[in-house]
């Protein structure tokens, strides 16, 4: 079973790479700065949020480099929202193609998540620039040995997003309303994820509710490494791997069960 899945996967890697590079070419066609936008965009976005929250609302975090705090959360949430959104629309958007040629359908959401993922890797460059060059004597972050664990959190984020992308794209076939509903959910999600504030400013009850948000754990994982130079707790590891695997597998099952019906709704 696994062997068959892998063989099938291998057969279509070329198509997948073609689709990812297509997205890249189309995205930056006719923009003067091109791929530089992948670096600039999160930087500028962060600058706006930094001004709003640290200057206007006077957010303070003792002993923490606020810019890095903001940026670690922002790059991950940005990945999540963009990838899940484009994965969601990928099936319906490719109906004309699906109607003519046989292509395994999982390729569409997966290639979108990969494409945004490459963009995400580019946004890590400005993140590291900020880690290295900002903060005063007390709050300066240093690169440490635990950085080797960072890919784990990003992998969990990826699996979680792919799984959710499968679920959303399946729903979108039968219920186009999901495009709007999920847009609202994303807005809510952004405020309910501690990106620009710390979870400890909330009441203990509310904190428990926030604990159910997988994104919080992925972000928290990277923050304990980048900001506090510590190994993430066992608890943190388990939450990351548990939520991401659960959503990924659940998404795969839903998608597999329903994919043969997609074509009738095209």
């Amino acid at each position: 079973m696994l062997g068959r899945i892998l063989a099938n996967f291998k057969r279509y890697t070329f198509l997948m790479s073609q689709m990812v590079s297509r997205d890249f070419k189309v995205k930056y066609k006719r923009s003067v700065l091109g791929v530089l936008w992948s670096l600039l965009y999160p930087l500028l976005q962060m600058a706006v949020m930094a001004v709003v929250f640290s200057q206007m609302f006077k957010f303070r975090m003792e002993g923490v480099n606020y810019l890095v705090y903001l940026m670690t959360g922002l790059v991950m949430f940005n990945y999540f929202s963009e990838a899940s959104n484009s994965a969601m629309t990928s099936i319906v958007g490719n109906f004309p193609l699906m109607n003519k040629v046989y292509i395994p359908k999982y390729i569409f959401p997966l290639s979108k998540c990969l494409f945004v993922g490459i963009n995400f890797l580019l946004t890590l460059i400005p993140l590291f620039i900020i880690i290295l060059f900002t903060g005063d004597a007390n709050t300066h972050c240093v690169i440490n040995i635990y950085y080797l664990c960072l890919p784990f959190a990003y992998l969990c984020l990826f699996l979680f997003t792919v799984g959710l992308g499968f679920i959303l794209s399946t729903i979108s076939v039968f219920l186009r309303d999901i495009f709007y509903i999920f847009g609202i959910i994303l807005t809510m999600w952004q405020y309910f994820t501690p990106i620009f504030y710390d979870i400890t400013i909330l009441t203990p009850q509310l904190q428990k509710v926030f604990y159910l948000n997988p994104l919080y754990h992925y972000i928290d994982f990277t923050r304990s490494i980048i900001l506090y130079n510590t190994m993430p707790s066992i608890n943190n590891w388990l939450w990351c791997i548990g939520t991401s695997l659960f959503v990924f597998i659940f998404g795969c099952i839903i998608f597999k069960l329903k994919q043969d019906k997609f074509i009738y709704y095209a």
């Binding site: 070329f14 198509l15 073609q18 689709m19 297509r22 189309v26 066609k29 003519k100 040629v101 046989y102």
Partner: protein, 244 residues
């Protein structure tokens, strides 16, 4: 090579209805008894098989289920009932240029569309020059396809689609695209592919082409097989039934 066993294909015509709150609301207010779901049997208990090297033609009036059969054999659709077994790689020549991205250049599209058709990277790199040559678009390789005329797009698509030596070829009408010169060239290329000893499933409304190419014919009507058999006899019968 291709075995189609008791295949039925049911389309739910009610699918579009009751799909929005507005419609649901109207239905509640109108107190009408909800109609039983309407179905349309695109195929009803169809069985046939195609041996290696055979060229089988499908004939029948519009809506008889010919294209549905092609879609089932090429894997685009799964049948509601029954089994389809296909041994070999299918090259569907149903609609060309399905995988084009108009923003990309011709060069980029050759790779993208080739990947959509299931070709490998190595194969495409080897055949790249041949594709370009056949398409007669050498000077426009780095122009975005959106700036192409429709004839040029068709030429490019045709050249990519027909570069393979397919195991199983699925053809929905012989395509002749582009200008007169290219029409002749593309038609010959397709005839060459069909006659080349591969297994072919061929849909056409031109009885002459069917008679010329097919070793066997399946006559479909309303999703059911009317007759299978010798090309000459069935074509004549079909012609009489339709116009006599």
């Amino acid at each position: 090579m291709i075995t189609v066993d008791k295949v039925s294909m049911k389309f739910d015509l009610g699918m579009e209805k009751n799909f929005s709150f507005k419609q649901a609301f109207i239905n509640i207010l109108s107190f009408k008894k909800r109609k039983k779901k309407e179905y349309f049997m695109a195929l009803n208990n169809v069985s046939f098989n195609v041996k290696k090297g055979e060229v089988v033609g499908l004939i029948g009036s519009n809506g008889a289920g010919k294209s549905t059969i092609l879609k089932i054999v090429s894997g685009v659709m799964k049948p509601t009932k029954g089994k389809v077994e296909v041994n070999g790689v299918v090259s569907p020549m149903i609609e060309l240029g399905a995988g084009f991205d108009l923003e990309l250049t011709a060069r980029e599209n050759i790779y993208l569309n080739g990947a959509v058709m299931g070709y490998s990277k190595k194969f495409l790199e080897e055949k790249f020059d041949e594709i370009v040559e056949f398409s007669e678009l050498k000077d426009f390789l780095d122009v975005p396809v959106k700036n192409f005329s429709s004839g040029m797009v068709a030429k490019l698509a045709f050249s990519i689609a027909t570069i393979v030596d397919p195991e199983i070829l699925i053809v929905d009408e012989i395509l002749s695209v582009g200008d007169i010169k290219f029409q002749e060239k593309s038609k010959n290329k397709m005839l060459e592919m069909i006659k080349g000893g591969t297994t072919v499933l061929f849909v056409s409304h031109s009885l002459e082409q069917i008679k010329e190419l097919c070793t066997r014919v399946i006559w479909l009507e309303h999703g059911e097989i009317v007759k299978i058999g010798d090309t000459e006899t069935i074509c004549n019968e079909y012609y009489k039934k339709q116009l006599g």
